[in-house]
Structure formats: structure tokens, C-alpha cells
């Protein structure tokens, strides 16, 4: 069934982004809330259908609504509304436009119906993210933004290469594609780049913490989850992803131990949580794919909530390092409560949304007889609680007083946004059957509320808490930053590019000099002559020479004719 492109949920975002520069401050605020509302109305109106546009000899399927696309689009749209409220205090034009573009591109990716349309939105997601990072407007943000850009353009280029190769073979369908030929692998590489699968992950922890507190809240939701959607759509059951996901889930945990920057700590846990989703895609069973989808949905809201509450702390105190925070439980008690809701959700505490979604992937690993995978994911759950549930709140709100004071109150708009996100985390955790599970596209049922699941979770969490308590002295932040895999290529690439440029310039100069010497005799005599007789004679003489040659040529031609 086909439908009209005029109901495309991306359109409200484009219109709002276009109007934002000419609207006032209040107008921009309302636009960034109106766009999601209209987009949601469009999404709910649309039947399961596709809509396309013929251009440049290709049928661009810009819109496809089906079960899988709907869940992601719904989460993105609702989240963009909440983040829009959170960013109420952002008065400048640029960040608003970038944020609207980011949300729109994210929604576009999950609604794209062919590979070229996917690529279209994919690239705009990169551009919007780049500017969102740059609006952090510090030396760190500039450099990280640039690295982000190059990395994502590289991923997108590899992906485009794969898409074009497939196109030459005759198909740009954005459907399950067996990872057997080179084009599929290229596309897969492009997708896992955006999913931050190690070793292609460094852009995330590098860039996300450097945006503004508002910017990070937008960044955290879209790129990786859009990539998870793309993987779930195109590459379910690819064995490599099972292991990549499980390693990814553990990888972020190790780094989070060492991290001092609260937003970077959360960024490493994005990598860890997306690991569950990637592993779910790799398992490829209906339960695993439902788990991936459900966990992506949960993740968007609890990670948003965590980033928002971390942002609130930074907004209020002007500090974002664990070694500079502490003892804020009094003045920022509501922020603490809201952060703990996010932390309980991400850690899988019963009756919060992580409990009902993460466990689907873990169970799917067990049902698929993947013992090491289940074990790795369980250990990663421990790490999640250790850092986001214990270390982060403990050293931010309790621990020792490092001089952090509330310099300005957390605005009501931030609280409203966090409360909305918290409600979603809690409600979908308590009644998943009527909410989250009802949206899931694949044919598999799952009941998270079994006695053993409760016990398993509580034991895991409490065991972790005990370990944390014993080791808490060791776990405080240290005033260090952590080398990530990007130290291997950051400087060498810059040196290589710089060196090559210098070499080619020098070569060019040498060639010009040598050529100059070689023709020095005649040319310099000519120059000397022109210096004596005025430079413009050169043009005249050249004309004469050309004309003479032309006449000579004409005579030759005429004789032959």
C-alpha cells in the first residue's frame, strides 16, 4: 500500500527547522515542541504503507511504516518532545535548528524504505550531530566535532560504496540481506560505525560529553539507536554481531571504572547498552529481535533521563567531574531522585523498564544455548549498576565535599522533562504488557515477572552493591582522562595528511623551479624584453603568434582541401 509523502513525520521537523531562524525565542521553543506533536499525529495517522519519490532515475522510498519502524519512530518522536522541553532555556537559534535537524534525521532513518533514502537521512544525521557538538563551543568540542565528522563520513562512504554496488546488481531494497557478498559487508561496516561497535566506537565517548548540556541530551538518543534499527532491519542473525555486541557490553564497563567526567561515564554506558542490542540483532531470533527493539526503546528514555540529570548537575554547579562534585544530595535532592530512576532503569531493577527489556536479550541468548554470551551480558549488567547506579550518584551526591555548590537553580523546564522521561521508564517497567510489549513487531512472547528473574536480578544488584561498598575507596574519580583506541590513529593520521601535503607542495615547487631553469633562456629573455617594452605587449604578441599560426594552419588546410 502506498501513501502520500505529505504525511511524512520528518516534514514537521524540516518545516520547524526552516522557520526557527526567523521566529523569536518563544517561537523557537514552541516550534521545537510543535514539530514532535505534529510528527506524532502523522505517524499515528499513517497506515502500514510506503511512499516514494522518483528522482534521478531512482525510486526513493522515503517513507515506510511497519511494526519495526513504528516502535523506533515513536520513541524518537516522543523523546524529541521531552528533550525539546529540557532545552527550553536554550535561546540561541543555531542549537535549536541543529537539534530539530537531528531529531528529524533520526526519524527519517528509521522510516527510510530503501538504502539510498537511508543514506540520505544518515548523512544529515551526521551533519546535524556535528553542529550540535560544535555548539559546545570549546576547543575540545571543535576538535571532537571534527573527528566525529571525519569518522562518520568515512563510515557513510563505506556504506554508500556498498549501496551503489548493490544498486549495480539491481537492488536497493532495505531488507534483510545475507552478509555474504562484499556490498553487504560494506553496508554492515557503515552501520556498525554508527552503532559504535569497538574498535569503531571512539567518536562517541570523545564527542558526546563535549556538547552543551542540552546538546548531549539530543545526541545521546538518535545515532546509535538509528544504527541498531538499521542492523535489525538488514542483518539479523549475523554471527559476528553476537560477539561484537557482547564484547561491546563489557568494553564500556571497563572504561567507566576509570572515567571521571560524568557525561563521559554515561557515554561509555551507551556503548555498553547498545552492546545488548547489537548482540540481540546477532542472535536474530524473534525473542532476541523483540528484545533489541524493546531495549532500544527503554534505552532512549532512561539514557536520556540520565544525561538530563547529569546535565542538570552541570547546569546548576558548573562542574562535571566526579573529583569536583559530591555532597549535593541536599540541594539537588530531586535531581538525585530522578537520576536514580534512570539508574534503576538502566540497571534492570525490577519494575523499571530495563528490567523488562534487557532481560529479553539475555534470555534469548540462553534459549539459543549461548552460554558465554549470557555470562558476558550478566557481567555487563553488574558493571552497569556499579557505575550508573552506584559510582555516579554516590560521588556526585554523597562522598566527600569537593566544593561544588549550586550556583543557579535547576530550571522547572528541566524538571518537567526529567519527570516525563521518568514516568515513561517507570510505567513501561510496571505494565510492559499493555505498553512496550504491545508495540513489539516480532512474534515472541516473554514474561519478565517470574520469581526467579526477580531473585536473579536482586542478587546480582545486591552482590554488586556489596562489592562497591567494599571497594568504594578505590572507585572515586581520579583527575585523569582515559586513552581510548583513538590514540592509535588520531595523531598518525594528522601527521600523514600533513606530511603528504608538505611533500606534494615541496615537489610542486621543485618542479616549477626546475621547469623555470630549463626554459630560463628564452623565457627570461622574453620577460626582460617585456619589462623593457611594457608587459601588455605580451598579450598582443601572443595574439599575433596565434593568428600567424592560425593563418599558417589555414593555408595548410586550404591546400589539402
Amino acid at each position: 500500500m502506498t501513501t502520500s509523502l505529505l504525511l511524512h513525520p520528518v516534514l514537521p521537523y524540516i518545516v520547524a527547522a526552516a522557520l526557527a531562524p526567523v521566529a523569536g525565542v518563544m517561537g523557537r521553543r514552541l516550534l521545537s515542541l510543535a514539530a514532535p506533536v505534529v510528527a506524532l499525529a502523522f505517524l499515528l495517522t499513517l497506515p502500514d504503507a510506503t511512499a516514494s519519490l522518483a528522482a534521478f532515475g531512482h525510486d526513493w522510498v522515503l517513507l515506510r511504516t511497519d511494526g519495526l519502524a513504528r516502535v523506533f519512530a515513536l520513541a524518537f518522536i516522543v523523546y524529541s518532545f521531552i528533550a525539546g522541553i529540557y532545552a527550553w532555556q536554550e535561546t540561541a537559534t543555531g542549537p535549536k535548528v541543529a537539534a530539530l535537524a537531528l531529531c528529524g534525521a533520526g526519524v527519517g532513518v528509521v522510516l527510510a524504505g530503501d538504502l539510498l533514502s537511508l543514506f540520505f537521512f544518515w548523512e544529515w544525521l551526521t551533519v546535524a550531530s556535528l553542529f550540535t557538538i560544535w555548539f559546545g563551543n570549546t576547543a575540545g568540542a571543535w576538535a571532537a566535532g571534527f573527528r566525529y565528522l571525519v569518522f562518520h563520513l568515512l563510515g557513510a562512504t563505506v556504506m554508500l560504496m556498498g549501496i551503489l554496488l548493490r544498486m549495480a546488481e539491481g537492488s536497493t531494497a532495505f531488507e534483510v540481506m545475507p552478509a555474504t557478498d562484499i556490498s553487504a559487508w560494506l553496508i554492515l561496516i557503515g552501520m556498525v560505525t554508527n552503532a559504535a561497535v569497538p574498535p569503531l566506537h571512539a567518536w562517541l565517548s570523545d564527542a558526546y560529553p563535549r556538547a552543551s548540556v542540552f546538546g548531549t541530551v539530543f545526541l545521546a538518543a538518535f545515532t546509535t539507536k538509528a544504527a541498531v534499527y538499521a542492523l535489525a532491519r538488514a542483518f539479523p542473525g549475523v554471527e559476528l554481531l553476537v560477539w561484537a555486541g557482547a564484547i561491546m557490553a563489557l568494553f564500556g564497563v571497563v572504561y567507566a571504572v576509570l572515567e571521571n567526567d560524568i557525561r563521559r561515564l554515561l557515554a561509555y554506558h551507551i556503548i555498553s547498552q547498545v552492546g545488548y542490542m547489537v548482540a540481540g540483532v546477532g542472535l536474530g531470533t524473534a525473542l532476541a529481535l523483540n528484545g533489541t527493539t524493546a531495549h532500544a526503546f527503554s534505552h532512549i528514555f532512561y539514557k536520556g533521563l540520565l544525561m538530563m540529570s547529569a546535565g542538570a548537575v552541570i547546569y546548576a554547579t558548573g562542574r562535571g567531574k566526579l573529583t569536583e562534585l559530591g555532597r549535593l544530595a541536599g540541594p539537588l535532592r530531586w535531581t538525585l531522585v530522578l537520576m536514580m530512576i534512570g539508574a534503576f532503569s538502566i540497571s534492570g531493577v525490577p519494575f523499571f523498564n530495563g528490567f523488562v527489556s534487557k532481560s529479553m536479550v539475555v534470555s534469548a541468548a540462553a534459549y539459543a544455548d549461548r552460554a558465554p554470551i549470557e555470562l558476558m551480558l550478566l557481567i555487563a549488567s553488574m558493571g552497569t549498576f556499579l557505575h550508573t547506579g552506584l559510582k555516579l550518584p554516590w560521588f556526585t551526591f554523597f562522598g566527600t565535599d569537593n566544593g561544588a555548590r549550586v550556583l543557579r537553580p535547576v530550571p522547572a523546564s528541566m524538571y518537567v522533562a526529567m519527570v516525563l522521561a521518568a514516568i515513561i521508564c517507570f510505567v513501561t517497567g510496571v505494565i510492559p504488557g499493555m505498553t512496550l510489549y504491545a508495540l513489539l513487531p516480532f512474534d515472541a512472547t516473554y514474561d519478565p515477572f517470574t520469581g526467579h528473574h526477580f531473585l536473579e536480578s536482586l542478587q546480582l544488584l545486591l552482590g554488586t552493591a556489596l562489592g562497591f561498598w567494599i571497594l568504594r575507596v578505590k572507585l572515586g574519580g581520579e583527575p585523569t582522562t582515559t586513552r581510548d583506541i583513538d590514540v592509535l590513529y588520531r595523531q598518525p593520521i594528522l601527521w600523514a595528511v600533513e606530511g603528504a601535503g608538505v611533500a606534494f607542495e615541496a615537489f610542486g615547487r621543485a618542479v616549477r623551479t626546475t621547469t623555470g631553469v630549463a626554459i630560463a633562456g628564452s623565457w627570461q629573455r622574453l620577460q626582460a624584453y617585456h619589462t623593457r617594452h611594457g608587459t601588455r605587449t605580451l598579450a598582443v604578441q601572443s595574439t599575433v603568434i596565434i593568428a600567424t599560426l592560425a593563418v599558417a594552419g589555414y593555408i595548410v588546410l586550404a591546400v589539402r582541401g
Binding site: A139, G140, A143, V253, V254, Y255, V257, L258, N260, D261, A366, Y367, D369, A371, E374, L375, L378, I379, M382, G383, L386, T450, G451, H452, L455, E456, S457, L458, Q459, L460, L461, L462, G463, T464, A465, L466, G467, F468, W469, I470, L471, K474, L475, E478, P479, T480, T481, T482, R483, D484
Partner: protein
Amino acid sequence: MKDRVAIIMAVILAALVAVEWLWVPHYAPKFPWHHMPGYAALIGLLACIFVVLLSKALGAWLLQRPESDDD
């Protein structure tokens, strides 16, 4: 001085393990540890200690450097 918090946590943990052992075994045991009551508590505690020590060692050896203006 006794660490009262640690003791309370350990007691609750033991109670949870006991409940699992006596009344609520794994609903669909697949792997060896599913048959062992309290495996989750063990993973939580041991993995926590292991991961922290491992990360700290890695950090000291390779990964950590002083904060710079760039950050």
C-alpha cells in the same frame, strides 16, 4: 570497627540465595550455573571486584593520562 552496611547487605544477600535455593529454582536451566543457587550474587560480587581491579590495573599501566586543557 565493624562495617555495618556490608554486614546488612551480606545478610540480605544470603537470604535471597536461600529463598532461591529452597523455593524458586531456575525456571529453565540451560547452563551449569543455572543449577547453582546464588550464581547471580556471585557474579555480582566477584565480577565487580575483578572488573574494578582489572580496570584500575589497565588504567595505571596504559590508559590513564593527566587531564589536559583540551578536555
